[in-house]
């Protein structure tokens, strides 16, 4: 026995499961194929088709195979059109915790697309959705993150929502957060966690580490 060489060649594709129609309609059909490998490849190839979001979201709702779900989510993030983003927002309201977490992770990757709807999510009637929106902000690369968090701690009536926002502010807050944090402490004077978290945030944004100019 020995080392052998047999470089992959495109012709090897002829006998694998990626045969058949690779056009848009063909790929949409393959999303419902009984073979998870075929569904996975179809979802991957649909990432370059802007009109595929609705079909991918539909499949995501009923797909049980984790490897296919992951590829569908990546494809939707790649497409990132209004349909895909609206679909992720719907997932935030799902009873399925996995689906919610997947949507949060996906939305973290889409700062440009998520920014226009963020204020709406942060005042959603459902407090859980507001908390999920703050979870998205945790890794969202957008210059308004601190401003959005300040709006939350200034007006949200729910201690859990404000607590989540303050936790994040302790990492991303600047001196611009100082007064809002003091007002939050006054507003929730009887809530030990808010006192603790706000004090921690205030300590972290203290001018000491800012004064190197």
């Amino acid at each position: 026995m020995a080392f052998i060489k047999k470089s992959p060649e495109p012709r090897n594709l002829a006998d694998d499961e990626r045969t058949g129609s690779r056009d848009f309609e063909g790929l949409i059909c393959k999303l419902d194929d009984p073979d998870s490998g075929v569904r996975r490849w179809a979802a991957r190839d649909l990432a370059v088709h802007p009109g595929a979001s609705a079909a991918l979201l539909g499949r995501l709702e009923r797909e049980n195979e984790v490897s296919v779900r992951e590829v569908i989510l990546t494809a939707l993030v790649r497409i990132a059109d209004l349909v895909a983003v609206a679909g992720f927002v719907s997932c935030l309201r799902s009873e399925d915790a996995n689906l919610r977490n997947e949507a949060i992770e996906a939305m973290k990757s889409l700062p440009v697309e998520v920014a226009p709807i963020m204020r709406g999510l942060l005042v959603d009637q459902d407090a859980d959705v507001r908390i999920f929106a703050i979870n998205i902000l945790e890794s969202l690369r957008h210059p308004d993150v601190e401003a959005w968090l300040l709006e939350v701690i200034e007006r949200d009536p729910m201690v859990n929502v404000c607590g989540t926002a303050v936790d994040l502010l302790s990492e991303v807050g600047s001196s611009a957060s100082h007064d809002a944090l003091e007002r939050l402490k006054a507003r929730f004077a009887a809530e030990p966690y808010i006192q603790f978290a706000a004090d921690l945030a205030l300590q972290r944004i203290a001018p000491a580490s800012d004064g190197q100019k």
Partner: protein, 280 residues
């Protein structure tokens, strides 16, 4: 304006953030290393202080500053027998497991990427010959891929500096290398054991033919990708591997932070990742 400095709170903020984004945690003992590089980027971006720089790092939509910092914080150097414990794991645990599940005489297929100048692929070939008795009973195919055709040409030529070969055991150096004016050249037999190919991991049409691998070595590459590209790469590896196949990442990389597609396997020598499913 005086020079910027990094306070302990600044360091903690950065430490938490960088760990979350990359999986790399810098302990206090690395303060000098981290501070030096942060200050370099603060200066380069003309930020007034750490806070201004950190805001840029976190919120810049394109993520280019985070990438620049990752490049600076990680050591991009390859050499023979780098992270040798993974090659021990290969011969002591992974290959025996694959062989035990094999039901036919098809070759064991190993994909190495990025190939860079070939040190990793040649190290695998040497380890298989010297440390794995199974090489007498099984064919092995080693494919080493890179996006850079110049580096692939260099890999095929097999010419290395003394620095690159400094961890090669003396006996291997005598057996598999010949001394040249500038360093060492790997011998023809070993050079013919590895197939070098050009591939762009981010291009689906490039990676489609790469299938049915038993083992993938992808060390210290994904750290340079953005989050979505990293997930896409993990999905590519999933389809490139046989069910039950293994993937080995660099010591500072964690598949669990990228994707839930793979299972963690803890072997005596290393932690690796495995595509779920039955063997062939």
């Amino acid at each position: 304006m005086t020079a910027a400095t990094i306070s302990q709170d600044d360091f903690l903020k950065f430490q938490e953030y960088f760990y979350r984004k990359t999986g790399i945690r810098f302990e206090d003992s690395k303060r000098y290393f981290v501070d030096k590089r942060l200050l370099e980027r603060i200066g380069h971006t003309e930020s007034a202080n750490f806070r201004e720089y950190f805001a840029r790092l976190r919120f810049e939509a394109g993520g280019s500053e985070l990438q620049a910092l990752v490049n600076l914080m990680t050591v991009n150097e390859t050499y023979f027998f780098r992270e040798e414990y993974q090659f021990d794991c290969l011969v002591n645990s992974i290959l025996p497991d694959i062989v035990a599940r094999k039901r036919d005489k098809s070759p064991i297929r190993i994909w190495v990427l990025p190939s860079s100048s070939g040190e990793e692929a040649y190290t695998i070939a040497m380890c298989l010959i010297e440390r794995w008795p199974g090489i007498t009973d099984h064919d092995v195919e080693i494919i080493s891929s890179d996006i850079d055709t110049k580096i692939l040409a260099q890999a095929k030529a097999g010419l290395y500096s003394a620095r690159s070969t400094m961890h090669v055991p003396e006996a291997y150096l005598r057996k598999y290398f010949t001394k040249t004016a500038g360093g060492f050249q790997i011998d023809d037999a070993l050079r013919s054991a590895v197939d070098f190919t050009r591939v762009n991991l981010q291009d689906p049409s490039d990676v489609r033919p790469y299938r049915n691998f038993d083992i993938i070595f992808c060390r210290n590459l994904l750290i340079y990708f953005d989050d979505v590209s990293r997930k896409q790469a993990a999905e590519t590896f999933y389809d490139a591997l046989q069910p039950g196949g293994y993937i080995l990442l660099g010591h500072s990389e964690s598949m669990s932070r990228i994707s839930s597609l793979f299972q963690i396997r803890k072997f005596a020598d290393a932690i690796v990742y495995q595509r779920p499913g039955v063997g062939k």
